[in-house]
C-alpha cells in the first residue's frame, strides 16, 4: 500500500478512536456541571472585597449556586441591580440590599489638633501606631497615613488636612477600611442621614481639650438634651444608639465642642441654626 496513504489512515483511525472514546466517556461518565455559578459570577462586580462574607466573588457565586437559602442581597457594592440579577438566575424572591457606607469617627484635622512629633518612618498607620501610638497628639484619632486609602477598592477615601475622608458618592460600604484601620475609627453603617460623634477619644475632658479642639469631652450635654435617650456617655465619650435616634439634631445643636456632626449624602456638616445657610465644614 502507498506509505503516505497508510500513514494517513493509521493516524486518522487512531484519532477517530480517541474521539469516539472521549465522546462515549463524556456521555457515560459526564458530570452535570452547575452553570449557575458561572452566570452569577458574571453579574457580580468582581471587586473581590469580601463584604458578602465569602472569599471573593467566586466564593459567593459558588456558595449561591450550590447551597440553598443563601441571601442574594449580600453583595453590597453590586447593590440592588446585582441582587435582582442573582435572584432571577436562582429563581428566588428579590430582597432590597441595605446599602452601607463607611463613616469615620474622627474629625481631628490639622485645624483642630496638631502633631506631637515628626514621623518619618514607614508610611503606614499600622507602623506609625506602633511608635508611641502615632504622630498625632491624640492617640485615638486618625493617623492619616492612608492604610484605608490603600485597601479601598473604589478609591473612595482620600487624606485631606491630615485625616481620612470618605467620598460618600463612591463608597460602597464593603468594610475593608473598617478592618484595616489600626485605630478602629471607621465603622460601616446603613447609608442614611444621621448624626455622628466624630471623636473616638476616651480620655478625660480636660486632657482631650488640650489635644484636639474637636474632641468629645464627655460633658453629657447631649445625653441630657436627647429627647429619646439615645445618647449615653461611656468612658468620657458620647455614643449614639441608632435604634433609638430620631435624627432630631438636638445633640449636634448643643454640643459645646461641635464634635457631633450631621452626616448626610453630601458629607459632614456642622449644625447651623435653621435661619442661616448650612455651611460645609
Amino acid at each position: 500500500m502507498n506509505p503516505i496513504l497508510l500513514a494517513v489512515i493509521v493516524v486518522c483511525s487512531i484519532g477517530l478512536l480517541c474521539a469516539v472514546v472521549l465522546v462515549v466517556a463524556s456521555k457515560f461518565f459526564g458530570v452535570e456541571e452547575d452553570e449557575k455559578a458561572g452566570k452569577i459570577r458574571e453579574c457580580l462586580p468582581g471587586a473581590n472585597c469580601g463584604a458578602c462574607g465569602y472569599a471573593g466573588c467566586d466564593g459567593y457565586a459558588k456558595a449561591l449556586a450550590e447551597e440553598d437559602g443563601i441571601k442574594t442581597n449580600l453583595c453590597i457594592p453590586g447593590a440592588d441591580a446585582v441582587a435582582k440579577q442573582i435572584s432571577e438566575i436562582l429563581g428566588v424572591e428579590f430582597e432590597d440590599v441595605v446599602e452601607k457606607i463607611a463613616v469615620i469617627h474622627c474629625y481631628g484635622d490639622c485645624n483642630h489638633t496638631s502633631k506631637k512629633m515628626e514621623y518619618v518612618g514607614i508610611q503606614s498607620c499600622q507602623a506609625a501606631k506602633m511608635l508611641y501610638g502615632g504622630d498625632g497628639k491624640c492617640g485615638f484619632g486618625c493617623i492619616g497615613l492612608g492604610d484605608c486609602v490603600s485597601v479601598c477598592p473604589q478609591n473612595a477615601i482620600c487624606i485631606s488636612d491630615g485625616i481620612a475622608r470618605i467620598d460618600t458618592r463612591k463608597c460602597v460600604g464593603c468594610g475593608l477600611c473598617e478592618k484595616k484601620c489600626p485605630q478602629k475609627i471607621i465603622t460601616v453603617m446603613d447609608d442614611v442621614e444621621r448624626v455622628l460623634v466624630t471623636c473616638n477619644n476616651t480620655e478625660k475632658g480636660a486632657v482631650v481639650r488640650q489635644k484636639c479642639s474637636n474632641g468629645c469631652i464627655g460633658c453629657k450635654k447631649c445625653e441630657k438634651n436627647c429627647p429619646v435617650g439615645a445618647i449615653t456617655v461611656v468612658d468620657n465619650l458620647a455614643r449614639i444608639d441608632y435604634d433609638k435616634c430620631i435624627n432630631c439634631e438636638e445633640c449636634a445643636k448643643n454640643c459645646p465642642v461641635g464634635c457631633i456632626l450631621i452626616s448626610d449624602f453630601s458629607g459632614l456638616h456642622r449644625y447651623v441654626a435653621a435661619d442661616s445657610e448650612t455651611a460645609n465644614v
Binding site: 497508510l6 500513514a7 487512531i14 480517541c18 459526564g30 458530570v31
Partner: protein, 197 residues
C-alpha cells in the same frame, strides 16, 4: 534484571533529570514552583500522567506503528493519544474520585501538552526499552520532576525574601537560580555507575 531496572530509575531521577539536565517541562517548573504544596500537586500529577501515557503509547508504538513502518509518525500520534488520554482520565476522575480530581485540579489539563510527558514516551522508544523498563523509566522521570519541583520551591521561597537588583526581579532571578540548581545536578554524573558497580 532488578539491577538494570534500579539503574534506569536512579539515572532518570538524578543524572538525566528531565527538568534540570534535559530542560524539558520548564514551563510548569517555573510556573507552579512558587509554593511547596502546588509543586507537590503538580509533581504527583505528572508522575500519574507519565505512567499512564507510557502504558498506552508503548503498546501503540510496538504493535501498530512499528508493524506498519510508521515510526516516523510517533510524535504526532503520541501527542494525539496523550491529549485524549488526559481528557479521558479527567472525565473519569471527576465522576468517580472527585476528591482526587479536586486535588489535582488545574494541573491535570495543564499536563496535556507538557513536553516532559511527550519527551519521556518518545525517549522510551528511542532508548528501545521494553515495557517494564519503560514504566520504570517513566516513574523515575516523574519522580525526578517532583524532586526538582520540590527543591526549587524551597529555593523560590527564599528568593521571595531576597532583594535582588531591580532588573533581576521576578523571572530573571528565577531563571538564574534555576540554572544554578541545574548546575548542582551535574554533580550526579557517574554516580549511578558507581552505586551499582
Amino acid at each position: 534484571m532488578m539491577k538494570s531496572l534500579l539503574i534506569i530509575l536512579m539515572t532518570s531521577v538524578l543524572v538525566n533529570n528531565y527538568v534540570l539536565s534535559r530542560f524539558l517541562g520548564i514551563c510548569p517548573f517555573l510556573g507552579v514552583s512558587k509554593k511547596l504544596n502546588q509543586a507537590v500537586g503538580m509533581g504527583t500529577a505528572v508522575i500519574f500522567v507519565m505512567l499512564l501515557s507510557t502504558a498506552v503509547t508503548w503498546p501503540i508504538h510496538t504493535f501498530i506503528l512499528a508493524k506498519y513502518d510508521l515510526e516516523y509518525m510517533k510524535t504526532i500520534v503520541f501527542i494525539l493519544v496523550i491529549a485524549s488520554l488526559v481528557q479521558l482520565v479527567e472525565i473519569i476522575l471527576k465522576k468517580y474520585i472527585p476528591a482526587l480530581h479536586a486535588a489535582l485540579g488545574i494541573y491535570l489539563p495543564l499536563i496535556t501538552t507538557n513536553c516532559a510527558v511527550l519527551g519521556v514516551t518518545l525517549n522510551n522508544i528511542n532508548d528501545s526499552y521494553n515495557f517494564i523498563e519503560s514504566m520504570v523509566n517513566s516513574f523515575g522521570v516523574g519522580l525526578g520532576f517532583l524532586l526538582a519541583m520540590v527543591l526549587f520551591a524551597g529555593v523560590r521561597s527564599r528568593l521571595e525574601n531576597a532583594n535582588p537588583p531591580e532588573a533581576f526581579k521576578g523571572l530573571p532571578i528565577t531563571l538564574v537560580s534555576a540554572s544554578i540548581v541545574a548546575l548542582s545536578f551535574t554533580g550526579f554524573t557517574g554516580v549511578v555507575g558507581g552505586l551499582f558497580a
